[in-house]
């Protein structure tokens, strides 16, 4: 009996330390949520402005000549994949990689430590992914795209739907879709539409990458908070069950001892 209670006691101890760990991680995630959400909101404002300008350019006939609007059929794809820097965020990283599996022929450019480990590139952080990093990356990507090295540029990121729900999503950045809805715009371009579009593309790709990386980070911390919250609940439940079992075993041992003493003194 004594052996049993000892085993139970050490299990309770180990679950308690797990509980402390999940609690600490939950607190860290909670404190990051506000900052991450702020970054995401600001990024969305910027993305809206960027989108509206680019859609103006896409609507203009002259821009069809731009290398960034050429649809090529060969389908060589490059995908920027944004995953977290750390694990223990529920299904966050797994969902991203599951979506990536749908593009087996694509070449991946990882952002975030987990993605880098998986796709074997030098480690970079998705939490601190800055506009300058994005600009350097998009410079190479845009040049390669214009030279016809690949035909489609996508980005896999995680959409922040709510605190409870995050969705791994793929968005195609290049080539630009022609804007069919817009009637011939009355906007003047200086020097001309084509040059403006070619100039802005690098910035557009970098901007979208930064914005989507920020939103993904917000999703990551939200996912981690949820995961740690439920892990904490499970740990508490487990401790309760083990404690009950331990108390029963202890009580059983005492009862048995008393019975033995009583039986022994009965003579």
């Amino acid at each position: 009996m004594a052996g049993n209670t000892k085993a139970l006691r050490s299990r309770i101890k180990s679950v308690t330390s797990t509980l402390q760990l999940t609690k600490a991680m939950e607190l860290v995630a909670s404190s990051k949520i506000r900052r991450a959400n702020e970054g995401m909101q600001k990024g969305r404002e910027y993305a809206r402005a960027l989108e509206s300008t680019v859609s103006l350019l896409r609507g203009d006939g002259d821009c069809l000549k731009s290398p960034y609007m050429q649809k090529r059929e060969t389908g060589r794809t490059r995908i920027v994949i944004i995953a977290g820097d750390r694990g223990l965020a529920g299904g966050y990283n797994a969902n991203v990689f599951r979506l990536a599996k749908e593009f087996p022929e694509a070449e991946f450019i990882p952002v975030g430590k987990r993605a880098c480990e998986r796709f074997g590139k030098e480690i970079n952080s998705s939490e601190r992914f800055s506009f300058a990093d994005a600009l350097a990356l998009s410079g190479t990507l845009c040049r390669d795209f214009a030279e016809g090295e690949f035909d489609r540029l996508g980005i896999i990121w995680t959409k922040y739907v709510s605190v409870m729900t995050q969705e791994a999503t793929v968005t195609w950045l290049l080539p630009f879709e022609k804007n069919e809805s817009g009637t011939k715009s009355l906007v003047t371009f200086e020097p001309d539409c084509l040059t403006v579009l070619n100039n802005i593309t690098r910035e557009y790709v970098a901007g979208m990458m930064t914005v989507l990386a920020r939103e993904s980070f917000a999703s990551e911390v939200a996912a981690r908070r949820m995961a740690m919250d439920s892990a904490g609940k499970n740990a508490r439940q487990m401790i309760d069950d083990l404690q009950l079992e331990y108390n029963r075993a202890r009580q059983g041992a005492i009862t048995q001892e008393i019975t033995e003493i009583v039986a022994g003194s009965g003579e």
């Binding site: 402005a49 350019l57 003047t188 200086e190 100039n199």
Partner: protein
């Protein structure tokens, strides 16, 4: 003086959003000033200093790292990677 609504948007959010009377920037074709009632117009910018004049006449200087300026019917948007006001 007539004013228009200017929004300056960078990856760090809208760094400026408000009424102003004039905006001086440097486009790829040279310097230009946008005033209220400008025709719809889009140009890319080069890294440079720019100046804007607010409704009350204050002058604010800033540096911009390029980007694009979109002049709409009743609002103007400047999109850049970074836009920083310089202290006088």
């Amino acid at each position: 003086m007539k004013t228009y609504h200017l929004t300056v948007s960078t990856p760090d959010g809208n760094v400026f959003s408000g009424q102003c009377t004039e905006l001086l920037v440097k486009g790829t074709e040279g310097e230009l000033v946008v005033m209220a009632g400008h025709i719809p117009f889009v140009t890319s910018l080069v890294p440079s200093r720019c100046t804007l004049w607010l409704e009350d006449g204050t002058e604010k200087a800033a540096t911009v790292d390029g980007g694009v300026l979109t002049v709409g019917k009743d609002s103007v948007t400047l999109i850049a990677g970074s836009f920083k006001f310089t202290e006088e």
